[in-house]
């Protein structure tokens, strides 16, 4: 597997980890040998609120990635393999404080957290246990710096070294990991341990300067620092690794980028991320309740309302928006009010049937 042995720019090997999990089991970094690991460390209690829901959105991205997420915190230790469920390896009361302290110390974190030192870190460790990327953050703000550093890391991972040609798969995987680490850190924001978005007007000091933006996507708040010209579509796909929302024409003409903002369907390609700060954004990843599909998703399957599937996320989001508008019931009305979503395969009859099915079922 070609993951991350692309840039041996950091020769340092990851500090070994040995944590007793109870039941005679031990977590060792070596347990993941041969697999890349995204290691997230949180020294402060109450810092981790990664629900199944939060990670559910990332599952699709991690599938096929081959990376393992290992989350070590005072609240518990979790492991998430791409093709598995999130697994709680040990709960807070099962973890030895002494062992935890040793792990955190080995990764440069203060424990117990406090004194202004870093209390969380993200490491990307490749299949040979080399540290490919590391970043620490402290409680005293600095999230903006952290996020932009992480983005730099993402770019660095993406940039092919001169003597090394990246395969498409490696580029994909690298970008997914970079996006994933971002999402991980953004997950912290949900707990309120990070500063809230300022109510003051956003105003970049100079042309092209980056601004802080908080996006509420599928019920999770993400703090991002980005240029104002970044569209919502690109923020979702490139920064939050929510690639269910597709980029088609990028001109508002095909509808495949459709998402809901405050329950209304819009084209995310013609919306700047900064314009929807504090609005409630729902993407295709946010429709299902756990494993239970949204009725519209189920109806698209039942009615076979797709061929290649590229336009499908946009069709489904648009259809959900249409039902909320309560303006179309007949096939002709549905066609008219789905005119913003193109399907090059021509699956229109079945798309109309799927929408009618959900409309009838209420």
């Amino acid at each position: 597997m070609g993951f991350l042995h692309l840039t041996p720019r950091l020769e340092r090997r990851a500090t070994p980890i040995a944590l007793t999990l109870g039941g005679g089991r031990t977590l060792r970094l070596g347990a993941f040998e041969g697999e890349p690991v995204v290691l997230a460390l949180f020294a402060r209690a109450g810092a981790v609120a990664f629900s199944e829901e939060t990670l559910g959105g990332l599952r699709a991205e991690l599938r096929g990635l081959g990376a393992v997420l290992a989350l070590i915190s005072r609240d518990g230790i979790w492991c998430f393999r791409p093709d598995d469920e999130l697994e709680l390896l040990a709960s807070a009361d099962e973890i030895s404080e002494t062992e935890l302290a040793a792990v955190f110390a080995g990764y440069g974190l203060m424990f117990p957290a406090g004194g202004g030192g870093p209390d969380r870190a993200v490491y990307v460790i490749d299949h040979e246990q080399r540290v490919q990327f590391e970043r620490h953050a402290g409680p005293g703000g600095g999230l903006g710096d952290l996020l932009s550093a992480l983005r730099s890391a993402g770019r660095a991972l993406l940039a092919p070294p001169r003597d090394f040609a990246l395969s498409r798969r490696e580029v994909l995987i690298s970008s997914l990991v970079a996006g994933f680490t971002l999402a991980l850190l953004d997950g912290c924001a949900k707990t309120g341990t990070l500063p809230e978005a300022s109510a003051a007007p956003v105003g970049a000091a100079e042309t092209g300067a980056e601004v802080d933006v908080t996006l509420d996507v599928n019920g999770v708040r993400h703090r991002l620092r980005l240029e104002p010209r970044v569209t919502l579509l690109d923020a979702l796909r490139e920064r939050l690794a929510l690639t269910g929302t597709k980029k088609g024409c990028d001109q508002g003409q095909c509808g495949t980028c459709t998402v809901l903002v405050n329950g209304r369907r819009i084209n995310s390609c013609l919306t700047l991320a900064v314009m929807v700060e504090a609005e409630k954004i729902v993407t295709i990843e946010g429709l299902a309740q756990g494993e239970r599909l949204h009725p519209m998703q189920q109806a698209f399957i039942t009615e076979d309302a797709l061929q290649c599937g590229y336009c499908t996320p946009g069709q489904i989001m648009s259809a959900v928006g249409l039902l909320r508008e309560r303006r179309a019931t007949s096939a002709a009305e549905i066609r008219e009010h789905m005119s913003g979503n193109l399907c090059r395969c021509g699956a229109y009859p079945n798309i109309v049937a799927a929408i009618q099915r959900v409309g009838k079922e209420g």
Binding site: V202, G203, R229, G252, G255, S339, G340
Partner: protein, 326 residues
């Protein structure tokens, strides 16, 4: 997209001040300007986001209706006051763009939307509107979509708005705030003809912000209609369109308002047609005679000759449908 500074304002004074600077553009729905910024046609150095301004409402005003500049197209189209008193406006809005775009696009943005001329949108082409003095690639290019009314030697680009055609027929006024204070601009005076300066599209000054649009309390505007003909069934710009309002009593036309779209360089009021209708019996023959006057001054190019006949038919259909004459 060219990088820019982003500023968000919360009250109109701030918008006026922020908008006066050079190379500054306002941002409302974004559906038009962001598209053009991606194409490199628009390259503002500064974007003033006005979405937080309190101009979202549709409400009764002086017997008529006031529509906030930032009300979204879909909300205006669905508003009971608009649907009952000014149905042509609702129909025009619903005939434009897609549901997603209508949820985003603002009223003021619609007033200011720019042409869909492909030579304007493609930065390598000659275009007097985009780059004054560079020429017009449409004159002898593929000009099937182009204007037959209000053209000049420097520009034949069509004004793309459906809404503005209905606003023109229903005699709307555009209200603004500017450095020198507030003013109201009749919609007929709002857009400019291209003449020698197609780059100047409206009479707005730098830092002038549209606050709302008013519609007069004219009872027969409840009998208004917008008819649009396009290349596909939905989600396409007009080849020809007509917004009409008729006051018909005892089979005779007492008053008429007629505006045309998809065929002109600005939303086009056809006073000749209106005059030919007033006092005449509301019959198909009257409508056909009056509609013929709307294209008397038409100037066609190689590929858009068909628009003359199409416009006449579209107008006749709009008139007969609002008068319920077949």
């Amino acid at each position: 997209m060219h990088p820019f500074q982003y500023v968000r304002v919360r009250e109109s004074r701030g918008a006026v001040d922020a908008g006066r600077a050079a190379e500054t553009s306002y941002l409302a729905g974004g559906t038009s300007i962001l598209d053009l910024m991606k194409l490199g046609v628009e390259r503002p150095n500064r974007i003033v986001d006005i979405n937080a301004l309190p101009y979202q409402k549709v409400e009764e005003s002086a017997g008529g209706v006031a529509i906030g500049a930032l009300a979204r197209n879909s909300d205006v189209a669905d508003h009971p006051l608009i649907k009952t008193r000014y149905p042509a406006i609702s129909q025009a809005l619903l005939s434009g763009a897609s549901p997603q775009l209508r949820n985003m696009a603002s009223m003021s943005g619609n007033l200011l939307q720019r042409t869909r001329c492909p030579y304007f949108r493609e930065v390598a082409s000659a275009c007097n509107k985009r780059r004054p003095g560079s020429g017009c690639a449409a004159m002898d290019g593929y000009n099937r979509m182009h204007a037959i009314l209000g053209t000049s030697a420097s520009c034949i680009a069509v004004h793309p708005s459906d809404l503005c055609v209905a606003l023109m027929a229903l005699e709307a006024s555009v209200h603004t705030e500017r450095p020198a204070g507030a003013r109201a601009i009749p919609i007929a005076d709002f857009h400019r003809l291209p003449e020698d300066h197609p780059e100047l599209e409206t009479v707005l000054e730098p830092g002038e912000v549209i606050t709302h649009i008013t519609l007069p309390a004219t009872p027969f505007f409840s009998r208004s209609r917008y008819v649009k003909v396009r290349d596909r069934a939905s989600f396409a710009f007009a080849l020809a369109s007509a917004a009409v309002a008729l006051d018909v009593a005892q089979g005779r036309v007492h008053a008429a308002r007629v505006a045309l779209g998809g065929v002109a360089t600005k939303p086009w009021r056809s006073v000749e047609t209106e005059q030919a209708l007033v006092g005449e019996p509301a019959t198909l023959a009257t409508f056909e005679r009056a509609a013929a006057l709307s294209v008397a001054a038409a100037q066609t190019r190689k590929h858009n000759v068909f628009k003359v006949a199409l416009l006449k038919s579209t107008l006749v259909r709009a008139l007969s449908s609002v008068a319920e004459v077949t």
